[in-house]
């Protein structure tokens, strides 16, 4: 656990740097507020439609696939460290694991869920 203390201190220092800059700019900078300036940017127009619009489901699908394949990667990482100790047995079991997920990737691909048109 002691090797994490430097990381914690670095986190505090890095956060202090970022927050310090944010505080400094709010103290130094000018502040003139009027309605037109505070509008979100829209090439000089006043916003016509609310930006809270709905998005294509494809972004959501990408996130779903990411979660699944990230879980796969999480299983592969410790295997990579132990690869030499486990030898052929470990290699074969990981090949089975990867093959099943390769089928999944192939399925997603064939169903056109990776197409972006």
């Amino acid at each position: 656990m002691s090797e994490y203390v430097p990381v914690l201190i670095m986190l505090v220092l890095a956060a202090a740097t970022a927050v310090g800059m944010l505080v400094a700019t709010s103290k130094i900078g000018p502040r003139k507020v009027f309605a037109d300036k505070m509008e979100p940017f829209e090439c000089g127009e006043s916003p016509i439609v609310s930006p809270k619009l709905r998005f294509s489901v494809k972004f959501y699908l990408v996130a779903l696939f990411f979660v699944v394949f990230d879980m796969e990667a999480v299983f592969v990482y410790p295997w990579a460290v132990l690869f030499r100790d486990l030898g052929m047995f470990g290699f074969v079991e990981m090949m089975i694991f990867l093959a099943i997920l390769a089928v999944g990737l192939l399925y997603v691909w064939r169903r056109g869920a990776l197409e972006w048109d």
Partner: protein, 170 residues
């Protein structure tokens, strides 16, 4: 020092979990959940479970919560007041479950109190090698079944979204 860290992290975890339940805005609730995940990761570090700690952040904070955030961003749910108080039956059910859970945890704590390892008995069980060698030998079957589970998740995701995808094509 270790005890102090434990109390800080434990308090942080409980506090952020409470914030998660009580906040009205979905984004703030998601942020609180991420904070809870971080506190839990810190607790794992205190337990010398390094691999689990980093996977906690990698998987929960880095992947699952991104998915949650996508849902919140993509749907743009407008917050409405008082929606939570809608169903009293659900509320009663949840509170009964919660009370029951507290009892179960308390009872199991009383039972295993004598069997808990004390400071001196800790061994490097949390390193990548230790966790991995258990996972890839002793728990081989659950590991392989996990791949089937992930495959099912992929297929499910495609089937759920497929109608929308074919709609989107001109």
């Amino acid at each position: 020092m270790q005890l102090l860290m434990f109390y800080i992290l434990g308090f942080g975890a409980v506090l952020s979990a409470l914030l998660l339940v009580t906040s009205k805005k979905p984004v703030n609730a998601a942020m609180s959940l991420i904070a809870t995940m971080f506190c839990l990761a810190g607790l794992y570090v205190l337990l010398d479970a390094h691999l689990v700690a980093v996977l906690q952040i990698l998987v929960y904070a880095g992947a699952v919560m991104v998915l949650f955030l996508f849902v919140i961003m993509l749907l743009n749910i407008q917050e409405k007041e008082g929606r939570l108080a809608g169903s009293t039956i659900a509320l009663q059910f949840v509170s009964i479950l919660g009370v029951g859970m507290v009892f179960v945890i308390a009872a199991s704590l009383v039972k295993v109190r004598g069997a808990l390892p004390t400071g001196g008995e800790l061994f490097p069980f949390g390193t990548t090698k230790a966790v991995g060698s258990m996972l890839f030998t002793e728990y081989l079957l659950p590991f392989e079944i996990a791949s089937m589970l992930l495959l099912a998740a992929i297929v499910g995701a495609v089937i759920l979204a497929k109608r929308r995808i074919s709609d989107a094509k001109p």
